[in-house]
């Protein structure tokens, strides 16, 4: 199958080209690669410094993993507790089985509110369910309020990172986007001026649009509280000024108790942006008379999560707190940027999460988008063993492929079946070794190296040499010397 390299990145896993194809535009664009690498260097260096100063970092990671595992093990009970407490505090809890269900609920609420416009806090979950295009098609004006999200929305760009989603857009591009869509003629490309432009652009929206949509970083089961972590204050605006608030949260976002935030808030900002704490974190509980929105809805979204929950190795994927440390550390992401992953979730977490959310029907190339170096595992604040999950998913992809008839004569599967045959029978293996030695002798140079091979082997020798086979195997040597020793 051939895929045209799209001009515009496709982040819908059901139609996105496979990773190696989607990676080409960035690989061919040295400036973009430099931008991505620069951003990664900045965040990584800040993170490393702050992790260094934290004497109990590993203990925090272990506690974080343990709390998240405990939640997942008892997810049903904690969700019910959250629902009960949130409802008691004046919130309305909805349940959505999939993206379509969640989108429908949002639209129904907006219709009941007669809302023609909504303001939004940056949220991965609403990106996952592709809420914005759906609402726009239904005639609702959607206004993103996070600076990076404004850049993407006004510039018709796609996010390439889960924490700094517009890192692939440079200041002169931002200037152009803002000048064009905000109608400002003499705008400089100074980040300070660009930020001020965004502030002015949104100020009136915050004060007049009566409905807001957010995601959630954490849901607190014991109190029914919802926490949102941010930097700019746009979140606080959306959480405070409108009349109605709608929060879309994955079912895995629950924490047992308020106090568990003492672990999560210590690891999240350090991992995400290399700060000791992000500028603003807000927590609210249902509705509070006189303070903030007086109508509050939470939509608990499954969308494939309960299936991940049921699998032993893969369950840890749901511990994720979306800090992005894994992509910042990933040598593959650093070269390809985020769009290559064909999903709103890029990087190592995207490589394991996306195919699972697609129930392994799409995005099968993603588990291979890794060198398995383990850098992601090392930095993950909730200790998700991403390489382990990648390998498990690769096995599933292989099993799927093997069952396809057209793969029967695929050279790789043919080779693997041959190898399986040879490696499981000692006598065949020894015979093959002897034959290989004979055969390769023709191609081995005087220096003991093979410089070029015909056919498929050429793919290897085109770029590197191969050492010739030794005159005798260890097994043969041992058999001989054991006899001599006696």
């Amino acid at each position: 199958m051939t895929h045209a390299v799209a001009d515009h990145p496709v982040l819908d896993p059901t139609v996105a080209p496979p990773f190696p194809v989607a990676a080409l535009p960035v690989l061919r664009n040295p400036q973009l690669r430099k931008n991505v690498a620069h951003a990664m260097d900045v965040i990584q260096a800040k993170r490393a410094r702050l992790v260094e100063e934290k004497a109990d970092w590993q203990a925090l990671r272990s506690a974080g993993a343990a709390i998240r595992d405990h939640v997942l093990e008892n997810l049903g009970a904690y969700l019910e507790q959250f629902e009960e407490r949130c409802t008691a505090a004046g919130g309305v809890v909805h349940w959505a089985a999939d993206a379509a269900g969640a989108r429908r609920i949002v639209l129904e609420i907006l219709r009941a509110e007669k809302a023609a416009e909504v303001i939004k806090i940056k949220s991965m979950t609403t990106a996952e369910i592709q809420l914005n295009p759906y609402l726009e098609a239904a005639g609702v004006g959607v206004f993103e309020t996070d600076l990076a999200e404004i850049i993407l929305q006004l510039g018709r760009e796609e996010p390439s990172h889960i924490v700094v989603p517009a890192l692939h857009v440079n200041r002169s591009q931002v200037r152009e986007i803002f000048a064009r869509s905000m109608g400002i003629r003499d705008l400089s490309d100074n980040p300070q001026a660009l930020t001020a432009a965004a502030r002015n652009y949104l100020r009136r929206k915050f004060l007049t649009v009566p409905t807001a949509i957010s995601g959630a970083n954490f849901l607190i089961a014991e109190s029914g509280g919802v926490a949102v972590v941010e930097s700019e204050g746009n979140g606080r605006m959306c959480l405070t000024l409108p009349r109605t608030m709608i929060t879309v949260a994955g079912i895995e976002k629950v924490l047992p108790r308020y106090q568990d935030l003492e672990v999560m808030l210590q690891v999240l900002a350090r991992s995400a942006t290399g700060e000791r704490m992000n500028p603003y974190t807000s927590l609210w509980t249902g509705v509070t008379p006189g303070d903030g929105p007086q109508r509050f809805h939470v939509i608990l979204l499954d969308n494939g999560r309960s299936q991940i929950l049921g699998r032993k190795t893969e369950r840890q994927t749901l511990r994720c707190i979306r800090c992005a440390a894994c992509m910042n550390a990933c040598p593959v992401y650093r070269q390809t940027g985020g769009h290559a992953y064909g999903s709103v979730y890029p990087g190592p977490i995207g490589a394991i999460l996306t195919p699972q959310l697609m129930q392994m029907h799409h995005a099968q190339s993603l588990p291979y988008a890794s060198s398995l170096c383990g850098a992601c595992y090392e930095v993950c604040p909730v200790k998700i063993n991403i390489p382990e999950v990648l390998i498990e998913l690769r096995a599933q992809v292989t099993d799927q492929e093997r069952r396809q008839v057209r793969r029967f004569f695929d050279p790789m599967y043919l080779g693997m079946r041959m190898a399986g045959l040879l490696l499981s029978r000692a006598w065949l293996f020894h015979a093959a070794q002897r034959m290989g030695r004979l055969g390769l002798r023709f191609f081995t140079g005087k220096d003991g190296w093979i410089h070029s091979l015909p056919g498929m082997g050429a793919q290897w020798t085109q770029t590197r040499d191969l050492r010739g086979m030794p005159g005798e195997t260890f097994h043969e040597w041992w058999t001989k010397h054991k006899k001599e020793a006696r």
């Binding site: 109990d56 049903g76 269900g101 500028p279 299936q307």
Partner: protein
């Protein structure tokens, strides 16, 4: 699975089947209590260094800090308001009357509409506590801390922090909370973004200026009155 079941029932059934855990109540067999928490609960800094650390963090965030003894607080507030060059302020309903220096225009928040709060040039509030390790100010939005909108819209936030309210670590703050609070805002420096080429820019939507008056009241260890089991 019952096709007529509500999405809620279906979701819970799927989850229970996936976890093979039908428990309807949380914390089966004390498993929550036995979660390992080997991280640092209580900090080890003496009071003076703890406060110095808090001030250092605030300055790193470009927050301005002024110190004063308790009896000089009203005068210090007035001086800072004057120095800010601003005139129109809002105040939470529970702010002590003697802090509202009469030479300025005050609006006290008794359900002020947002548009009026937006007109104010600054706001004065107290706080619940502060965490030195990360330089964080915590608001629980009591009567003197104000509604959330109050410390959000004005461009200049003057926060009154008593030395005795400064704890060292985040877990120390959590052990101060007997009940989960209903509303919380954690503030660590003024609003900021690094979305354009990773350049940190101060002041996007929240207040662009954070100013703290540290009141030098006598400092006991703020968590020393805790039971040992709470002090983890």
């Amino acid at each position: 699975m019952n096709a007529a079941a509500s999405p809620r029932q279906q979701a819970l059934e799927r989850i229970r089947a996936a976890t093979r855990n039908p428990a309807a109540s949380v914390e089966p067999a004390g498993s929550y209590a036995s979660l390992r928490r080997d991280y640092i609960g209580h900090g080890a800094l003496p009071a003076e260094s703890r406060i110095a650390l808090m001030l250092e963090r605030l300055r790193e965030y470009d927050a301005e800090v002024t110190e004063c003894p308790p009896e000089a607080l009203p005068a210090t507030i007035a001086a800072q308001l004057l120095a800010s060059g601003r005139h129109a302020f809002v105040a939470p309903a529970g702010l002590p009357q003697e802090w509202l220096a009469p030479q300025f225009a005050w609006k006290v928040d008794r359900d002020l509409p947002a548009a009026e709060i937006e007109q104010a040039e600054g706001v004065v509030t107290t706080c619940f506590c502060a965490i030195a390790d990360s330089g964080t100010i915590v608001l629980h939005h009591s009567a003197s801390e104000g509604r959330r909108v109050l410390s959000l819209l004005p461009d200049w936030h003057l926060c009154i922090l008593r030395a005795s309210q400064v704890v060292e670590t985040l877990p120390e703050y959590f052990s101060l909370c007997k009940q989960p609070p209903r509303l919380v805002t954690w503030i660590s420096g003024p609003s900021a973004t690094a979305d354009i080429e990773m350049t940190r820019i101060k002041g996007v939507h929240g207040p662009r200026f954070l100013h703290v008056i540290l009141v030098r009241d006598p400092v006991a260890d703020p968590t020393s009155n805790l039971q040992p089991d709470q002090a983890r």
